[in-house]
Structure formats: structure tokens, C-alpha cells
């Protein structure tokens, strides 16, 4: 049992449990908080995968910005608690869970059948070198500079679109 294995066990357990709790809690605020927990443990998993930059970006962008935004909207709307439309349609819910569980078992079977751990040879030193901020930055501003600019325009368009959509009325 090395530290890597222990950390993976802890973070993956938190990740799976918080995901399940998120879709089963009736209150939207508690769901959002479990999603924040899920994102933070995902950042820990990214660290075990030697992706430092993405781990920090995950905490700042997802757990910070996007989830604060979600909580703001929940606060603004104050939606009625979901319990009253949570109970009926129980049969449909069981049906959906069974179907999705079957698909999940199928995916797991395929993953074990294809044995990616035997075909993919991984070196820890190369993996560590890949995830550094320096390496990602160099790649982003040389080979991926056009998608980077496009992402900037996309965010600008989304900002304007959100402002127009959420405005009281068009004049």
C-alpha cells in the first residue's frame, strides 16, 4: 500500500459516494454542495494522475466559479422543494436505474476485456513531465493557439447571450 494507492482509494470513494448522494437528495442546495465535494475529490484524482494544472483549474473553475453560479441561481429562483414531485413515478425510476446499470456493466465488461493496462505502457517520469504548467502552456500557445482564441470568443458570446436572456424584457 503506497501513498498513491491510498489516495486513489480515498478520492475515488468520495467521488462515487458524493455523486450518488447528489442525485438522491431532494433539496437542490444540498445537491449542489455534494457536487462541489465531487469536484474537489476529482481534483485530487487529477493530482494522482500527475495533472497539476488541470487539478488547480478544476478547483478554481468548477468548484469555485461554476458552482457559485449554480448556488446563486438556486438562491434567486428559490424553487419549491422537490419532495412533492420526487415520490411519484417510482416505477419509471426503477426502470431507468436498471437500464443504466445494465449499460454500466456492459462498459465495465468491455473495459476488462480489452485490457488497456497491458497494451498501454506508462512511465511515471514522462507522465509527470506531461502535466506541468510549463508543458501545457507551451503547447497551448503554439499548437493550440487557435482553439484558445476561439474559446475566448465563445466565452464572450456566452456572456452577452446570458445577459440578453436574463434581462427583464427586450426593448
Amino acid at each position: 500500500m503506497t501513498l498513491e494507492v491510498i489516495l486513489f482509494a480515498i478520492f475515488s470513494t468520495i467521488c462515487a459516494v458524493s455523486a450518488v448522494l447528489m442525485i438522491t437528495r431532494p433539496s437542490p442546495v444540498i445537491s449542489a454542495l455534494f457536487l462541489v465535494l465531487n469536484f474537489c475529490s476529482l481534483a485530487g484524482l487529477y493530482l494522482t494522475l500527475n495533472a497539476q494544472f488541470i487539478a488547480v483549474a478544476q478547483v478554481i473553475v468548477y468548484a469555485g466559479a461554476i458552482m457559485v453560479f449554480f448556488l446563486f441561481v438556486i438562491m434567486l429562483l428559490n424553487p419549491e422543494t422537490e419532495r412533492k414531485f420526487f415520490e411519484h413515478k417510482a416505477k419509471l425510476r426503477v426502470f431507468i436505474i436498471v437500464i443504466v446499470a445494465l449499460v454500466l456493466i456492459q462498459i465495465i465488461y468491455v473495459i476488462f476485456l480489452s485490457k488497456p493496462s497491458q497494451t498501454i505502457t506508462s512511465e511515471a517520469s514522462r507522465s509527470i513531465e506531461t502535466g506541468t504548467v510549463e508543458n501545457i502552456g507551451r503547447e497551448m500557445f503554439t499548437n493550440y493557439v487557435l482553439p484558445f482564441e476561439a474559446a475566448g470568443y465563445l466565452l464572450l458570446a456566452a456572456t452577452i447571450g446570458a445577459l440578453v436572456l436574463a434581462k427583464k424584457k427586450f426593448e
Binding site: 498513491e4 494507492v5 486513489f8 475515488s12 467521488c15 462515487a16 455523486a19 447528489m22 442525485i23 437542490p28 445537491s31 449542489a32 457536487l35 476529482l42 484524482l45 487529477y46 494522475l49 495533472a51 488541470i54 483549474a57 478544476q58 473553475v61 466559479a65 461554476i66 453560479f69 449554480f70 441561481v73 434567486l76 424553487p79 422537490e82 414531485f85 419509471l92 425510476r93 431507468i96 436505474i97 443504466v100 446499470a101 449499460v103 454500466l104 462498459i107 465495465i108 473495459i111 488497456p116 493496462s117 498501454i120 506508462s122 512511465e123 507522465s127 506531461t130 501545457i136 503547447e139 497551448m140 482553439p147 474559446a151 465563445l154 466565452l155 458570446a157 447571450g161 446570458a162 436572456l165
Partner: protein
């Protein structure tokens, strides 16, 4: 790199399935939206896993762009939810069914 790659892939598949169940069973539009974010994140986990195990930086850059698109999508989607709430005073997706046949 002592952990087999399968474990990460299975965790990702599990999170994706949980997200699908959430999208299909929950009736609150905001929670449906959060489940979509969960599914995006499980796809991100797969990309990072392969990027790390193959030593290729492309997957991590792709995750970075996915984050940018997710931020844009969350902004526009939540603005749409606010606009719908203003018109219909509900976020229950069973009652928002104008386009349903």
C-alpha cells in the same frame, strides 16, 4: 503509475451512469443541469487518465477547453432557466412541455 488504468476508467463510467440516472429521474431543471456537469466531468476524467498514461499533453488541453465550454454552457443554460422561471414560475421540467408532442 501503480494503479491499473481500468480503475480510473470504471470510476469514470460509474460517474457517467450516475449522471444519466440523475438526468432521467430528477424533475428540477437546475439539478438536471448539475447532472450534465457531472457527466462532463466524468468524460474529463477519462481524457486526463489516457493523457497521463500515454504521456500525451493533448488530453489535458482538451479538458481545459471542455472547462471553457462548460462555463459558457452553464452561463447560457442558467440564464434560460431564469427566463423560463420568470414566465412560468416553475423549474419543473414536466410542466415545461410546450415543445413536447
Amino acid at each position: 503509475m501503480q494503479i491499473p488504468i481500468e480503475y480510473y476508467l470504471i470510476l469514470s463510467a460509474f460517474m457517467f451512469s450516475v449522471g444519466i440516472v440523475g438526468v432521467l429521474t430528477r424533475r428540477n431543471a437546475i439539478i438536471v443541469f448539475m447532472c450534465i456537469e457531472l457527466m462532463l466531468n466524468s468524460a474529463n476524467l477519462t481524457l486526463i487518465t489516457f493523457s497521463s498514461y500515454l504521456g500525451d499533453v493533448g488530453g489535458q488541453l482538451f479538458v481545459f477547453f471542455v472547462m471553457a465550454v462548460a462555463a459558457a454552457e452553464a452561463a447560457v443554460g442558467l440564464a434560460i432557466i431564469i427566463a423560463i422561471y420568470r414566465n412560468k414560475l416553475t423549474v419543473n421540467i414536466d410542466q415545461i412541455n410546450i415543445l413536447k408532442w
